[in-house]
Symmetry: C2
């Protein structure tokens, strides 16, 4: 891994450069599990394990965003942030991101009630995702916003994922990849707001460092989830209580 | 893994049997990383990684116990629980468990300031340990007490560890194993109190099930830490920012 740049964080532009450097060196697009996933190197059971665990992350995002929203007395920011909850939860008469994720797990042949119970996820997934919720509750509102900045790097990953999974897996159809296609539009808008927010509101080098720390924390949350999937389902050390793919 | 017994949890004795079954099937004494550690199969860098990461757990225990203490208005329970903080923190003129752990990391050649900074620990260690603190804050006081019940199974593990590490590693001396020797006396007293507490205060099958859930959660906390060590330092996938042993 490259050494951290020693450019001082004395301007919003220096902050943006550092944030993009963190993404380029730590975002989970770099993780070996994703290389296997997108390169067609996993079997269906391993892809099921990925989708099952990731459901816990997806279904926790609106809870996380509700906590972020609760940190702001500024109505304008609440109005801006609220659509994130809507993106994931949908409305009474329209689907959201969680429903689209369940279309993926349906397509993979997982029982919907089992997925929604989250009974079979890895404990490491639960701890990493819950850490994200605790972070946005316990840290400053600035850090809570900053921890969402991994969205800056998501569209490239999602494009690679859509193309790679459709090409390599006969059990993946365009319909079940709808979640990722929708995020190609949603993530850039969210990321732009959060980036502008931290560039404007982090006014000292220490505050900019805290913003970088929040993004680093978030990349850790995502990386730990990939590490746990790799250890359980590639190395093959599945812990007690976790999902076991049926013998292929 | 054996199937969970279907004996109903309709008595304190049935609860105790189930708790001991959880320990026998899920306690981290069963983890492959511990087999390697105690069997002399790790190199010094891997043992350093274990001690460095475990320091975060050790140094968080008094924080966890302070949160547990804060959940009880009953002074008698606070008096009983307080010695756990003293066991780890010591007094102004006597060492405690954290100091004894630092004697171990000193003996392994790790810089004390680096260990205390916790900068080099695995993110998965941090998430798992922090999850324990959040658990005792957010769950019922009964579950908070129950989550300490892994102490029931610690003495056997510590005896195996002391004997195995002294036998196999020339960089381990009796002096640096003092932490574990002291815990052979401390853990049984603590475990006995907590076991009696949950047997008396869990009065319905649902409350007994919650006690079992708390112990299962805690075994997950410990198991995830071993999984992360194995993945990073045995499989060799060390994440960005984590401790890297010097080339042997």
């Amino acid at each position: 891994m490259p050494t951290e740049p020693n450019e001082p964080l004395d301007s919003p532009e220096a902050l943006e450069r550092r944030l993009r450097w963190i993404g380029a060196t730590r975002y989970h697009s770099l993780h070996p599990f994703h290389k296997l996933l997108h390169g067609g190197k996993l079997n269906k059971g391993q892809v099921q394990a990925w989708a099952l665990n990731r459901y816990y992350y997806q279904s926790t995002i609106p809870l996380k965003d509700a906590v972020v929203l609760s940190r702001f007395r500024d109505r304008q920011i609440r109005l801006e942030w609220r659509h994130r909850i809507e993106d994931h939860d949908g409305s009474f008469d329209s689907e959201g991101g969680i429903e689209r994720w369940l279309q993926l797990t349906d397509g993979l042949g997982l029982d919907r009630a089992y997925v929604e119970s989250t009974d079979g996820i890895l404990a490491a997934t639960r701890f990493a995702v819950d850490a994200y919720v605790h972070f946005v509750r316990d840290k400053t509102p600035l850090e809570a916003v900053a921890s969402s900045l991994t969205e800056l790097f998501a569209p490239n990953l999602h494009e690679e994922r859509i193309a790679g999974m459709l090409q390599h897996y006969d059990f993946i159809s365009p319909a079940v990849m709808t979640y990722f296609k929708r995020r190609l539009d949603q993530a850039p808008r969210d990321a732009e707001f959060a980036l502008n927010y931290v560039m404007e509101h982090a006014r000292t080098p220490a505050e900019r460092q805290a913003v970088c720390g929040a993004l680093t924390f978030k990349t850790d949350c995502l990386w730990v989830q990939q590490d746990a999937l790799y250890h359980a389902y590639v190395t093959g050390m599945i812990p007690a209580g976790a999902f076991r793919p049926e013998a292929a």
